[in-house]
């Protein structure tokens, strides 16, 4: 309680009354003079609790404030203090190994970060000419990703999932196993839980603790029971921390944001509360730009050693890839990893459906000197055969396997082996890229050599199993 009085004393004379209306998370304050757009606001209710807010619209007559955090108990005669600056957090090396809530207050029992640099959480766009094109292959130890959807350092590659699928398990496995070959640099992990259930949050923390990664991690948790408006800040806080680690401390940072669907729901809620014209399915028309200001913070900057690799996770509402959330995300990110219910049901982990999945930066990260000279061609050939195999499987469902031509039957067999040998692996199985490619050549050998038209002849003669005796 004394904390509140300290706060009131600290900014004595700046606390105002004049709230005209409180509607949901929005507060309308009259006659407050000159207040900046996006400014941070402190609010104290008669219940003597402090809350934080943000200016959404400002004019000389009236200011619209979005209240973050719990708003029950607020009354019209609460005290408001306009801080004069936009929302900032304090960052220093001390953040490593720590846990915070969605307002960047510690939840690990340790004191808050007090010394360090104040950073705006909104962030500034990286100048496109300052970017370095990402090109360092990250080995995740997962064949479907390394072989067919290679991740590179500085990429933003989301996992599109469906409720109930093991996306958290996959994300934790990536965080645990990700390395850049030939470089002994470990990733620092910034984990942002957005509207997460506590069980899910505990799973990640347990995994990070178990692998020892917790010391190189920063955890920012907005749980399902926490206020929805804070979800708008959680990923931005995470990325502000990540930018500090990557571009000030020169670390390689892997940022996991889960579940971005909760973020988008919160955005829709806010937009509706403000009475904005809704776009598709009620999501605001600016959701694309808004998501971009989060995702585009990934990358590498010329002349700086660190990098931000971004792995957002989102559950597709209704499993629908065309839903605005996965749709707009896919337009911003550099590819997507799509999990499939069907593969999961057949007991395949990780249930990655490689056909609609894609890594846009793959080409820059693979090949001689990075992975291996045959990687690109093998990946293309696998795609081609697998898609033919899936077509054959669909056909077999109608005409029966006996109705297939011998060639189609081979493709069908290939698809089965692809899923069972190449995609499927253990949660703690960490395959090198050579192992992944070895499995790939094994299943490619199911087909006659002349079918391998996506692979140049000299590569076939060097790597094809039939040729190597």
């Amino acid at each position: 309680m004394s904390k509140i009085y300290d706060l009131i004393k600290e900014h004595q004379g700046k606390w105002l009354k004049g709230v005209r209306e409180i509607k949901g998370s929005l507060m309308y304050v009259e006659n407050v003079g000159e207040v900046g757009y996006d400014e941070e606001v402190r609010i104290i209710g008669v219940d003597e609790k402090e809350r934080v807010g943000r200016v959404l619209e400002t004019s000389q007559e009236e200011v619209v404030v979005q209240i973050l955090g719990d708003r029950a108990g607020l009354t019209i005669d609460c005290l408001v203090y306009f801080t004069g600056t936009t929302f900032k957090i304090t960052v220093s090396e001390e953040v490593l190994g720590r846990m915070f809530n969605g307002r960047f207050e510690p939840i690990d029992g340790l004191p808050p970060i007090t010394f360090g640099e104040r950073r705006e959480i909104i962030g500034e766009p990286i100048n496109p000419v300052a970017r370095e094109y990402p090109h360092d292959f990250i080995q995740t130890g997962i064949s479907a990703i390394d072989g067919s959807l290679s991740l590179v350092r500085g990429q933003k590659l989301p996992i599109f999932s469906i409720s109930g699928l093991p996306h958290n398990m996959l994300a934790a496995q990536i965080a645990r196993q990700a390395t850049v070959r030939g470089k002994e640099e470990e990733f620092a992990v910034v984990f942002a839980g957005i509207g997460l259930r506590s069980a899910e949050a505990e799973y990640f923390i347990k995994e990070f603790t178990r692998s020892g990664a917790i010391e190189r991690s920063v955890v920012i948790l907005n749980l399902a029971e926490d206020p929805a408006v804070e979800r708008l800040m959680t990923p931005r806080i995470a990325l502000t921390v990540a930018e500090y680690l990557a571009f000030d401390l020169e670390m390689h940072v892997l940022v996991i944001l889960t579940d971005m669907t909760n973020y988008c729901e919160a955005l829709r809620e806010m937009s509706a509360a403000r009475g904005e014209i809704p776009g598709r399915m009620g999501y605001p028309g600016y959701m694309y730009s808004d998501l971009a200001t989060i995702y585009e913070r990934a990358g590498i900057i010329k002349g700086k050693k660190g990098s931000i690799t971004l792995l957002p996770i989102l559950t597709m509402p209704g499993g629908d890839l065309r839903h605005p959330i996965p749709d707009l995300t896919g337009y911003i990110t550099e590819g997507q990893i799509i999990l499939s219910q069907e593969l999961h049901a057949r007991g395949i982990y990780p249930p990655i459906n490689v056909l609609p999945s894609l890594s846009r930066l793959m080409k820059a990260g693979i090949g001689p000197g990075k992975t291996r000279e045959d990687h690109k061609y093998v990946a293309e050939q696998l795609y081609d055969f697998y898609s033919r195999g899936i077509k054959a499987r669909d056909l077999a469902r109608i005409v029966g396997e006996v109705g297939l031509s011998p060639r189609m039957r081979r493709f069908l067999k290939f698809a089965d082996e692809f899923e069972n040998k190449y995609v499927k692996q253990g949660v703690y199985e960490n395959r090198s890229i050579e192992e992944t490619l070895k499995i790939a050549w094994e299943i490619l050998a199911l087909l006659p050599e002349e079918e391998l038209i996506r692979i140049p002849r000299h590569i076939i003669s060097k790597y094809h199993l039939g040729r190597r005796g």
Binding site: E34, T85, P128, G279, G299, Q336, A364, I398, G403, I453
Partner: protein, 598 residues
Amino acid sequence: MSVERRGVIRKVSGPVVVAEGIPDIKLGEVVDVGKERLIGEVVRISEGYFTVQVYESTSGIKPGEPVYATGKLLVAELGPGLMSTIFDGVQRPLEEILKRAGSFIKRGIKVNALPRDKKWYFKPVVSKGKKVEGGDIIGSVKETPLIEHKVMVPPGVRGEVVKIEEGEFTIEEPVAIIKSDSEEIEVKMYHEWPVRVPRPFKKRLPLIVPLITGQRVLDTFFPIAKGGAACIPGGFGTGKTVTLHKVSMYSDADIVVYIGCGERGNEMCELLTEFPRLIDHRTKRPLIEKSIMIANTSNMPVSAREASIYMGVTMAEYYRDQGYDVALIADSTSRWAEALREISGRLGEMPVERGFPAYLPDRIAEFYERAGRVECLGRPKRTGSLTIMGAVSPPGGDFNEPVTIHTLRFVGAMWALSTDLAYRRHFPAVDWLKSFSQYAEIVEEWWSKEVSEDFARYRRRALNLLTVASEIEAIASIVGEGALPDDQRLILLTAEIIKEGFLLQTAMEGVDVRCPPLKQYLLLKMMMDFYDKAYMLIKRRVPIDEIAEMPVVFEMMRVKEDERDLEAVKELYKRVMEALSNIAKKYNIPQEALSRGV
């Protein structure tokens, strides 16, 4: 010095600011907003106050802060120094911003579009006493080793050259003085042009020559004429950007203007890395020397995204006016339309379809109408062209949405990308059933003159075969391929050869990154001649498997990447024909039967 026209901010809501206190403010006038002097444009005037669209982030801007009118409309600076430069949406060079502000873009940075201190060697082509008018070329500057920059009399100016000098000048120094009836006008190497106003020309000319992109599916099946307009709609992951990157890299345009509008930062970074490295195939010089880029990535301010399209098209028109063939690529026009929607929403305008303002179709039309092949203003007589290619990113990949629908009304070609093809990694994923080009017939004459007289016939037959094949495929997916008659299976086989060996073009390096017209023709001829001859065999009861298992069938699918290029195709053509006549021999079919009816 005129009196400072200064007003005061009343309200801030995102990129929209309401201000008052400048009674003579003009619609479209550029204003400096707030203490940090952010760039904005007046979009609405009401009694007593006006509304400004701000091109930079307005965080922290307060009511009560000043607003300064500049007296200028939103203009582009046009002159030497544009080439090889990368700008943001309001024509600030990003390299300069980097020098001043570091890796992140800060607000309130004022930079000139064109360097003021750089000296250019100006060579006059007219002499003193000559009567000139707007558009006339008075001299030139070597802007890059590739581009001879023509210095023109700005549109609207007319009179007699009373002074003109050869030598090194900065763009601020006058190179000539023109005396009109009333005054003497100093002509500098640059002038300004309001971006929302199309630049004038003498007259439109019919389109006749194709823009050769080097991409087989486009050039052969869905061509675009120089001066035409095309759109490329597709869901995410279908390869819009990759296809447009390739067009920008391998087309035969003299100049490329690439607008990255609301797209990924790393994609612009890729172009910036590639363009200085890639060699233009016609001139053997780095591609960057003929390119201008605009990068207003998705996380940069939305309102500048709206402006970026106009900036780009104005610069492109300026080089068209010099007599060049310019290709403008806008990726993505949907993001531009969304910027329109967001601003419109903030202004409280009445939305019509999916929140877009009622004037969306007009804006789209105005943009694509700036494409064309024209006789340029002024002397010497010259023609220039501006070809516009715009990406469209329909939500959910569903083409039935306002931006796609309205765009289709104003373009002559659509390269529709298919998610299905993309999943199979068939790139470019141009759907041959949905795409169209109204330029195909127009450019036939060019192909017939420059490549081969029977090209058009091959093209039509191949397209026909692909259409029939897709119908047969639909049946095959129910009854199985084995149940089809042999002649239909031959159609499927040929279609697969065309898809793999002709349409698919994914090379990032090597000979297949760019396929010249003659090679396109030879490949297609080989595949269709194969079909015709094989058809005659099948009619004479040769089993399809006999043909399908010939090794040359698989070779036809990969010969495009053979480094021996044309030689390899010609050589394979002979072997395909031989293989077919060997089968004829085996089945005692007279050789002349093979060519009958072809």
